[in-house]
Amino acid sequence: MRRSATIRRQRLTPLWLLLPALVVLVPMFAYPLYQLGLLSLFDYGQPQVSGGVPARFVGLGNFRALFGDQVFWSVLGQTVVFAAGCVVVTLAVGAALAMLLTRVGRVARTVLSFAALAAWAAPAMTGSVVWLFLFDSNLGLVNEVLGLPGYNWLYERSVAFALVGAVVVWHSFPFVMITLYAGIQAIPESVREAAALDGAGAFTTFRRIIVPMLRPLITIVVIQSIIWDFKVFTQIYVMTRGGGIAGQNMVLNVYAYQKAFASSQYGLGSAIGVVMTVILLVVTLFYLRALRRSGEAL
């Protein structure tokens, strides 16, 4: 009798230890998510929020409207491509600079870290506006320097995406760089030395030694980047003025904002939010599985 009581108490201990985390997570995360799911099933606009008009249950109506809208599909498609591009470039830039950090002297390292941290610390809003000034068609410094007066960087869809993508990368590579640099520093010196003695260059060391050893870290960084870049909002909203010429640079989050807040269709906006959440959950699960299969502990 006594033994089973003890076991039960021991089993409950982890739950008690989870409680503080739950106290934070449930109100901050679970409840909004629950509301998001709930709202996505209703016709819920401004008259329903504040006007005393009862919210009408529409089942999956919002999702049907969404999936039947070809604009949604094209926005989803270009969000995926844009986010993928940003993730790849962010990782490439971040990893390259992390490698560079391990090879340069102290002064150069300090300067580079400081510059990267400054970019990281700049709020997305400020960064976007400053870049927009730099690339202004009439008064921008870039056009002045390149001798392209009047060139409109936002006119072509791909050029506009590339410009916004550059700002997104500029904002997010420092995280990748610092994280990977910390990881590389944690690799025993002797391992890298051995590689160097065997004649491995920077790239081979990175591919054969660092990547395999830092796989868990890289996975986390990739997932983080995917989540951030898939949810990009500020840079697109500010730089392309809410989605670009004729909506050509629209991404999912801006689209959701436009539907939910600008035009007060909170139900439809929530449905877009649910779709985004599901996509990101699938991405996360996929990576967790990949991690498990490769036998790495998290």
Binding site: R11, L15, Y34, Q35, L38, L39, F42, Y44, G45, Q46, P47, Q48, V49, S50, G51, G52, V53, P54, A55, F57, S137, G150, Y151, N152, L154, Y155, R241, G242, G243, I245, A246, G247, Q248, Q258, K259, A262, S263, S264, Q265
Partner: protein, 428 residues
Amino acid sequence: MRKPLTLTALVALALGLGACAPSTEQPTDGTDAKTGTLRVWLFDEANRAAKEAVVKEAVAEFTANRPEVKVDVSYLATETRSEKYKGALNDPASAPDVAEVGNTDLAGLVAANGMADVTEDMAKWSEAGDLPKDLVKTVTVGDKAYGVPWWIGVRALYYRTDVFTDLGLRPPTSYAELVDAAKKVRAARKDMVGITVGGQYTFGAMPFIWDAGGDIATSSGGRYTATIDSPASKAGITAYTNLFSDDICPAKQCVDLTGGGTVETFAAGRAGMGILGNFSRSAVEAGAVKGKYAVVPLPGAKPGSIAPAFAGGSSLGVFRSATHRSLAVEFMQLLAGKKYGIKLYDAMGFVPAMKSARDEVTAKEPFLKPFIDTMDAGTRFVPVDKAWTTIDAEKIVPNLLQKVITRRATVDAAAADANNQITAAFAK
């Protein structure tokens, strides 16, 4: 592992049963306190000090014989006004008593049950008869009045007198002449566009569409039907988008301009002409072209005709959740009346809505003549329906224009698309 799962399931079930529908706030009808602080929201302006002085004077007059009343005026940035309104709707305790409302915003606020019905108060007001009928329509939803038109603004054609004189041009009196003059200016002055127009400038494009006999939607029996893909509308869209050619206003430069962007371009001296409002005069005067411009009505396609202008401007209304309903109505009527209408004109150049006040300021200000001529020729308005909020927020008209300007779609395809979207907005 079993227990936490059961627990989660239970919690989920409890939550699911606990709230089966999202919360809906009942609109509160407010109260009618006769003392305390009356809260007023007005729009911020570039030269707010002048507006503030007029409002302060009105407040002083209002509180002079109401010693127990204070008036607290806040100025809202126009770009973020809709967030402020939504905040006021969602949290009645933070709502103002009296608010300035862009006349295109009103229908959405009424649909959200946010505005007080002031039909009876207006009937009792001595100055009500002085309001022109077409403006009263902009604050009327169904057959109820939800505010007072305060000031109006229409757009007309600003042109550069110095450039026109140099090139021997006359101000255009038809669309064909406008195109011709614009091309000549652009050909002679490489650093200027012939006429500054914008792909995001809905109210710059609408006169061309209205002039051709088209419209965003037409109403019959209280129902709106989208008509942006009618042949007449498409003719107007073509007329406007044809101005975005390399020899007038190159697409790359002009496609993403807003109305404000065209004001900047004209004021900076980079355009031969521009479709600007009477309310933009102070911005133009502050620019490089001070003293080098004049204004004529925007011509229609038929020689000598005037293209119908959009009746822009703002109204004053009382929030439904106002805590000082009678005081709010009295203050609204004081501010919207003839006396302060004229004072506001003197300070800001906003043309008063009141007919008698309008006549008075026109008499002393020749600058206004082309605008008044435009108003007299008949103004038009956007659909007075909550769908306008959606049409505006989803940029349906700018998207249509931009698709045509960038040649990403034909007029037919882009207009058909927009027509479907507008139809869907009305169906909600």
